[in-house]
Symmetry: C3
Subunit: 356 residues, 3 copies
């Protein structure tokens, strides 16, 4: 397929658990919920595809897979699976799952940092307390972190939903909460992130769509960002909608309507597996080709990074093969489309060197 | 197909109309709205599939179908179509469409009762009035009914939507309404049903997704149950999301995120007919295989029970054949998956004998 | 395909820009947002399909396409593409994109007017001011316009969303706004449009689903019309849900549940191109066949009218070919279904002559 040889920029992923895992521990990480299972589409894919990547027969049983994985050890497993993705550049959300140094030790690609703004704010509040100067200090810390980063990320979808209030000024006081949940504070923080992102040329990534049980999924519909997108349309900011399923058609509409919106179906692709082609087809109904970026959103298990890359290649590759066979697109155009999603669109949207 | 020989547990259905029907009467029951029509996907399916099951040629005209059906009589029609489903166990929602004895006379499978909690509450209120003791009496009646039941059912989606308030205590007073609509009362009733369900080991079924015009469909999105699901996650309750279309991907997410959630696409499958395969494919993107149960949600016309079974077999069978051909799954795993949905998952979730 | 020879009634479209366009101007009209692009599904379709309709090779480059188009001139381009649609009757929304005379000069089909009620109200307010008599004058003007029209149209989805308040009486005062946005005024206006539509036998068209950035798409979900539809179910009004994507399954439910609801996937079909078949398949899961009408919603570029017709023919034609091959439907029934959407359903719903 024409996606086979493309190098990937994984513009949003996380680190892996640096430990060997028993079956409950492994299965928990095969899910966004508390109790994953091999009896699922992603479980089938681990057995079908990760097994041969680790020199086991396809469709090997779950216990045999885990036993062989334990023999290899988590590190060797990670090294093999991460390298097999064909990724040359990883943008790591360091807010969850470890830092760039640990991840860089497992792969030979470039590793750059995505800074999670809620985590920075929570760290500053924990350090300096909730006094009046905390807002200045959050901004100063965000600016300092931004100088070395490739992008910013917000999980406001988890905290109060994507219809957060648009706030140019901070609230009067910070509530004494370790986990930020005050909508006014979050609204100010996201708008601050948008300003810093525009100033430093850093895209602002939004968690949208499905995630763990800390989420109210109906509050994570990217359409709820419409007012925020209108406000930021002419500021120079690039907005990245992550994951998106089951609202990926909605996200595609936003990418169509707003020139500064980009999107991916990371997280979605490794989970839906052989359905990646169908999901990508729905996205491509309306999303401009320049607006799509590749990511795995791999977290915890390097199997997720591997399956993200594998199903993206297979899903998009098969889809484009069908389009070519049906005379929808020329091979040349299809190759350009695929290369755009694989890495070019991310290269155009993210800074090639740190702002520092 | 590998679904051909599976016996079915229809974990949610209703009785049939014990009368012969003219064309307007029949067509009305071919729809969730007031005016069904043969000129629809389900109408095509009746002519294509129910006709030969009643010894008529496929695609027979609507009037010829109904005339032959009238000659057979409603009872013989029902007996033939219900038996042809291959269902060995029927869980009947007796809140709408008649009781277990009537239905049992038409089929040789086991028939067990699903108790609709709103109907029980309305009966108690009608009997004892709206005094302060009515809440105790509702609870007592629900417990009595639960002892013989296989599960509970709520139609709160129809009454105030799935974002009902979570209430541990009843409201101060019962409003004098024959059709319960007070959100506080309904919220208390559903939470009571959840407690009794957990205590007796009875799953609590929720109407979600499409239904008749009494529904505001956007209030029936199962995602609106998120807070309820968090509250019941560790109580031992099993929650069954019924129907789900067009929110079946949302339901699949909930089944993925919450270990106590199960779902079906009953009602959906007989209506969408040859599209059952596509809908099931969307569900299986994220729903764990253990979380899916078969139901027809047949109501009124035994044609619905028959088409529910037929299109479930064809839809899932074809889907799994494609997966096998594409090396997504082994035949052994596919057979286990199909048997789980056909009956095993329901057998694991519902009590095998009454609590009494 | 069995759709090849059908004549079309395009029951909702707009005029074309009467000017030659440079590449930015053309690309802007290839999008509902401010910055369209050839690098999109619709851009591929222009190069693949409009090019040969203008005697260029398929997949010609964008600049070559535009240069040839400029040589032909906008008028000759429009005449060729509009005639190639096979449309014999055009219902033109004159609220945006020019009037019936200009459009009629470009095509030999019949051109009739759809009156946009918000525009009429805004014109009256601009003329007579915001005095107490303005409401009577709006009604009088609407009635006058209705006499020559084939239908009415509302864009309340853009102004306050489809959950507008149902108002039998006008508000106390008109706010001094050139662009109506007061929900009470809009609610009254839509209900007035519904009454006039019922009285004159004119369907009332609703913008639903995606559109330009003036829209909050989540407020344009047709399900938000549920209360309005209940209120108008027995009044004789026909309600037309336009566009619908990505809520086309929701619209199909409404067409199933309410006998006076019709729908189309205009705008959607030219944009999603080769995915039209998939979208139509989703619609036909539940929508009665009588409820579907063809439209292009072409606006600005005659390429949109042309692609609307072309992808409708190809999408539905291929879908029905698959159904026939799979024995879902007979060829006779498929032909009737296709003719219904092509023109018969619109002919049944709209008046054949003006009310005047």
């Amino acid at each position: 397929m024409l996606t086979d040889e493309l190098t990937l920029t994984d513009h949003h992923c996380h680190g892996v658990v640096p430990a060997d895992l028993d079956r409950p521990g492994f299965e928990q990480l095969l899910s966004e919920g508390p109790s994953g299972t091999f009896d699922s589409t992603i479980g089938l894919a681990v057995r079908r595809w990760c097994a041969p990547a680790l020199d086991l027969p396809p469709h090997v049983g779950a216990d045999a897979y885990l036993s062989h994985r334990a023999e290899l050890g988590w590190r060797e497993t990670a090294v093999r699976l991460l390298r097999a993705t064909g990724t040359t550049s990883w943008f790591l959300d360091t807010g969850y799952g470890g830092g760039t140094a640990d991840f860089g030790a497992l792969t030979d690609g470039e590793v750059r940092e995505i800074v999670r703004i809620e985590q920075v704010a929570e760290q500053v509040i924990a350090e300096v307390g909730a006094g009046r100067k905390v807002f200045e200090q959050i901004e100063a810390r965000l600016r300092a972190r931004a100088r070395d980063a490739v992008g910013l990320k917000t999980i406001v979808a988890y905290r109060c939903g994507l219809d957060f209030p648009l706030r140019d000024r901070p609230p009067r006081a910070v509530l004494p909460e370790r986990r930020l949940a005050d909508p006014d504070l979050l609204g100010w923080l996201v708008c601050l992130g948008a300003r810093i992102g525009a100033e430093y040329g850093l895209p602002l990534q939004f968690h949208t769509g499905f995630g763990d049980t800390d989420l109210r999924l109906h509050r994570a519909d990217p359409l709820l960002l419409t007012d925020f997108l209108r406000n930021t349309a002419d500021t120079g900011l690039t907005v990245m909608l992550l994951h998106c399923w089951p609202f990926h058609r909605n996200a595609a509409y936003l990418a169509h309507a707003f020139a500064h919106v980009r999107m991916d179906v990371g997280l979605t692709v490794p989970y839906v597996g052989h359905r990646a082609q169908a999901v990508l087809a729905e996205v491509l109904e309306l999303a401009p080709f320049r607006s799509l970026c590749y990511s795995s959103d791999g977290y915890g298990l390097p199997e997720l990074h591997y399956l993200g890359a594998l199903w993206w290649r297979r899903g998009l590759g098969r889809l484009l093969d069908e389009w070519i066979a049906d005379d929808v697109i020329t091979t040349t155009d299809a190759e350009r489309l695929a290369a755009g999603i694989a890495h070019s669109n991310a290269e155009a949207a993210y800074p090639s060197t740190p702002a520092r």
